[in-house]
């Protein structure tokens, strides 16, 4: 076949609709990215079939980080599950803690003190900032801009210091416990947080100038990896990926939880739905989180109970029931489906991570006809955390 500039004709399809890819023909090449470090946080492999420098088929391979959480939780008591859930998502573990705790509280009929709701919201927004900072570094890195990652990792570490003084740990905070949170804010926390927020804002200014107002970045990211709005429902797309397509899908607004009804904000949206827009939506969402944290620290009650009295957790039984708790994490809708059967152990826990749909079905669709050099950037732009896919 003569050279065809219109690559979208490749690969051709067989009569039964499957792709006509004959590796022995010499036209196609199998290329693996990953599992180590395909440009995202966590291990995942992409099996690409390329024709020239263009991808004709991509398959996502997951399971490198599978530990079987949903199984392990079935043999742990409700309190014993609390320390392990955060491990499902390393860069933003707190949503696991919140969703799990809220699901348990709902089925057990527990009321959580007001102050705990505020602290939970605070922690979730802090986690969101961390997650976005990590993302920005990764997104820039995928286009060869290493310096952004150097900056954002530094300010993320400042936020980790705040996490450490508040929760007692840097990464796995294990702070949002069924029944409330483990403690109140330490003395002088708000002031130190403000300093950290200012540092992050200042870095974000740099990021905007160096990354977003950057000819190279725009050349690579604008118009690439467009998610058509009509795909949103079919592919279960949520979060910034959906908001960048102009749909203000944000659980914090749509089905508000915790203290979001008392905070003043609008969902951040974009309209072009390409890599650039998604990055920009996340940058602006990060600024929104900074604003939310400031609002929280002003509006929250300064003292009070942080945790409700639990029954003896060693033999805590929860009546039969099922529920679903969702929250808006930095990647989209994070949710826990919890089924109880009246025993002291969960009957079933299912964790819905947004990457589950974004990085498999959606990515496999978007990657077709992409340039090899854009694959990593595309995957990063969907904001993928593999452990939440395979758990």
């Amino acid at each position: 076949m003569a050279y065809q500039p219109d690559r979208s004709q490749y690969p051709q399809k067989k009569a039964d609709g499957t792709l006509d890819i004959d590796l022995a023909s010499g036209k196609y090449l199998k290329l693996w990215q990953g599992p180590q470090h395909p440009g995202i946080t966590g291990n995942m492999a992409i099996e690409l079939t390329v024709c020239g420098d263009e991808v004709v088929e991509g398959k996502t391979h997951v399971g490198y980080l599978h530990r079987g959480f949903e199984k392990l939780m079935e043999r742990r008591t409700f309190m014993q599950c609390f320390p392990i859930v955060c491990r499902i998502c390393v860069p933003e573990p707190d949503f696991n803690e919140y969703c799990y705790a809220a699901a348990v509280e709902e089925l057990a009929g527990l009321e959580v003190p007001e102050l705990a709701h505020w602290i939970r919201t605070l922690i979730l927004e802090m986690g969101r900032i961390n997650s976005y900072l990590m993302y920005l570094g990764g997104q820039a890195g995928a286009f060869g801009q290493g310096v952004i990652g150097q900056w954002t990792t530094y300010v993320r570490d400042l936020m980790l210091d705040r996490f450490e003084e508040l929760t007692g740990a840097r990464i796995y905070h294990m702070f949002i416990i069924p029944g409330g949170v483990r403690d109140n804010l330490p003395e002088g926390f708000a002031a130190r947080m403000e300093t950290t927020l200012q540092e992050i804002e200042s870095t974000l200014g740099d990021v905007e100038r160096v990354m977003f107002h950057n000819a190279v970045f725009k050349k690579r990211a604008v118009g690439v990896g467009i998610i058509a709005p009509e795909l949103l429902d079919s592919y279960g797309i949520t979060g910034p990926n959906a908001r960048a397509a102009g749909v203000a899908k944000d659980v914090r607004k749509d089905q508000p939880y915790l203290v979001y009804p008392e905070l003043d904000f609008e969902a951040v949206t974009g309209k072009d739905s390409d890599i650039y827009t998604r990055a920009d939506v996340r940058r602006r969402d990060l600024l929104l989180s900074i604003d939310l944290i400031r609002q929280i620290l002003v509006k929250m009650p300064k003292s009070g109970a942080v945790m409700t009295k639990l029954p003896n957790v060693l033999h805590w039984k929860i009546p039969r029931g099922e529920t679903y708790i969702r929250g808006e994490c930095s990647r989209g809708e994070y949710g826990y489906y919890l089924v109880t059967d009246g025993s002291g152990y969960p009957r079933r826990v299912n964790v819905r991570g947004p990457s589950y749909t974004h990085s498999i079905a959606l990515f496999e669709r978007l990657v077709v006809n992409a340039n090899i050099s854009d694959v990593a950037a595309l995957l990063v732009s969907l904001h993928t955390y593999p452990p939440e896919i395979e758990r």
Binding site: G26, Q36, L65, R67, G68, L72, P83, Y154, I171, Y172
Partner: protein, 213 residues
């Protein structure tokens, strides 16, 4: 065995057909060998010093703990000043940091990567999971003891260990190397059969050569 690893006929771009047998064609058949000190003590000492001051870590974060390596690569902790840096390929790396739990699926890739590293090479186990299974002690999909499958020079406690603890670990590793006690690669060569048997007992679909050099 994966299709692409089977012996088959392939037609080249020039139309000529030829036989490919990937396991024989692409891999070395010889096993690992024990490297004995080749020079006088003083020169070996110098070598060990040089080795200890150029720790090149393979950029393969196998589990959660990898997230605490990122701060080390950035200005705040700046591990580069300690002679530590991260490399994208096993061929350029001499330290494999197993950053936490290993699912059997990852273990397979880890073994391949480890065997592709050049001697002398070191392994550091990071956190509870590498020592005795950690919080995944009852999981069907993660190994419990890293030293059953790879020779481990050093363990760092934590879940996960902080960047500062990692640095402390690397500093300890340097001492081991300088003392000539970081002999993991030789241990692996000496007990190759034992390691292989352990590896194969948990990797049920072994579809690669025994030694991936």
């Amino acid at each position: 065995m994966k299709e692409e690893l089977l012996k088959r006929m392939v037609k080249g771009p020039d139309g000529v057909e030829f036989e490919v047998e990937p396991l024989r064609d692409y891999y070395c058949e010889a096993g690992p060998t024990v490297q004995t000190p080749a020079y006088t003590a003083i020169i070996e000492k110098l070598f060990n010093w040089a080795r200890s001051e150029s720790i090149w870590i393979l950029g393969f974060g196998t589990g959660c703990g990898a997230i605490e390596m990122r701060p080390l690569m950035t200005p705040r902790f700046d591990a580069y000043r300690y002679g530590i840096q991260w490399r994208p390929t096993p061929r350029q790396a001499n330290l494999f940091v197993i950053s936490g739990y290993l699912s059997t699926k990852t273990l397979k890739r880890v073994i391949r990567s480890y065997e592709q590293m050049q001697s002398p090479k070191y392994v550091v186990g990071l956190g509870s999971c590498t020592i005795n299974g950690g919080m995944y002690w009852d999981s069907y999909n993660t190994i419990k003891r890293l030293d059953d499958y790879l020779p481990v020079d050093l363990y760092i406690a934590g879940c996960m260990p902080r960047p500062e603890a990692l640095l402390a670990g690397f500093e300890d590793l340097k001492k081991l190397i300088r003392a000539g006690k970081a002999e993991g690669a030789n241990q692996y060569a000496e007990n190759f059969e034992w390691y292989k048997a352990n590896q194969k007992s948990v990797i049920h679909d072994w579809d690669m050569p025994d030694y991936n050099w």
